[in-house]
């Protein structure tokens, strides 16, 4: 899938740039994109490394248990095959809790470990399991309680009520998550 997306985007871009006369801009985009992505990785590196270390302390201290105990009844119903493996379930619950709190940088390493464990469970196949689909769909939807970035941006553009959009955000993201998960479950069954 990713192979087709990658090839498709690049091929379409080349064709379009010829028609629109943006070939120079396209060449710049390649150079800038490569540079920009490394800059992003460097920006991420500090936070990702820091959070991984902090979360390791939290996890060793037993904070993980607390989070997963609250979320696991929901997760057990969503993930059919991992329920025997409490370690994966705990990673998933922690990933979801971190996402809800807006700690995206903390959520990613937890989620990556969860997916790695799910792959081990599937016998190292290169095909996504049902649980992986549910998990990734959950991570492509936003389940943030407090969208800090948007609120900060609104404030800096002199909004008279930067936080007034919160109820709308909650309703929209809950509906989006519900549709994504329902569709994933339906398509898996087929």
């Amino acid at each position: 899938m990713l192979n087709y997306i990658f090839a498709g985007i690049i091929a379409l871009s080349l064709i379009f740039s010829v028609f629109t006369g943006n070939t120079k801009a396209l060449a710049d985009a390649v150079i800038n994109g490569a540079e920009e992505s490394v800059r992003l990785l460097i920006t991420m590196a500090g936070m990702l490394t820091l959070w991984s270390g902090i979360m390791e302390i939290a996890s060793k201290g037993g904070l993980t248990e607390l989070f997963s105990r609250i979320l696991s009844p929901v997760m057990i119903r969503l993930f059919k095959n991992v329920k025997k493996d409490s370690r994966i379930l705990r990673l998933i619950s922690m990933n979801v809790s971190a996402n809800m709190l807006g700690l995206g940088n903390a959520a990613t390493p937890l989620g990556l470990s969860a997916v790695k464990e799910m792959k081990r469970l599937s016998g190292e196949s290169d095909r996504a399991t049902d649980d992986m689909i549910v998990f990734v769909v959950m991570n492509t939807a936003s389940i943030q309680i407090m969208p800090t970035m948007v609120a900060t941006l609104r404030q800096s553009y002199k909004s008279t009520h930067p936080f007034s959009i919160l109820p709308e955000v909650w309703i929209s993201s809950a509906c989006a998550l519900a549709v994504g998960l329902t569709l994933a479950k339906i398509l898996i069954k087929k």
Binding site: A25, E56, A58, R127, M132, I165, S172, A176
Partner: protein, 164 residues
């Protein structure tokens, strides 16, 4: 965030966790993770940049505007709806552009805010999670995830229209 870190470290100390050793070993894992996602990320960001620069995204927007009008989407946010699942940085750039031109409290500004707050960078999440463990057959993931994104866009317009 600093409070969260302090709470975790002090909590760890109380629970008799060797906090710095534990931190180091966890942090090492985090750095390894970064190393494994770097190639995927670089490839995808270059592809998205090419897509934007070639004018393909503008062409798509022009095609979609009549449909957007029909659905009651403000046309100012159409490029953002299209870019949101693909590029986090790109859609943030479009969001600030909308704030600058129409104001954060305008209809378009509020819809764009709700959209940004209730969605994630779908392609990035898929690439990171499946890319890191070498999953090639992603089955229905993309369809379900994009349906969620579309729902968020429809709901952003609806909620802003009905709740203000």
């Amino acid at each position: 965030m600093p409070a969260f870190i302090a709470v975790v470290v002090i909590y760890g100390l109380i629970k008799k966790v060797p906090v710095f050793d534990t931190f180091s070993s966890g942090a090492r894992e985090g750095f390894k993770t970064l190393y494994s996602i770097a190639p995927t990320l670089i490839g995808l960001i270059v592809a998205v940049n090419m897509f934007k620069a070639s004018g393909a995204i503008d062409f798509l927007c022009d095609k979609i505007t009549p449909a957007a009008d029909y659905l009651g989407f403000p046309k100012e946010i159409v490029p953002m709806i299209l870019l949101r699942p693909v590029s986090g940085g790109g859609s943030t750039a479009l969001l600030t552009d909308i704030y600058k031109n129409y104001g954060p409290d305008s209809f378009a500004g509020e819809v764009a805010s709700v959209l940004a707050g209730s969605t994630e960078t779908t392609f990035y999440a898929i690439a990171v999670y499946f890319g890191s463990v070498g999953i090639k057959k992603i089955r229905h993931t993309l369809i379900a995830a994009l349906a969620a994104d579309f729902t968020a866009a429809v709901m952003a317009v609806l909620t802003v229209r009905l709740m203000n």
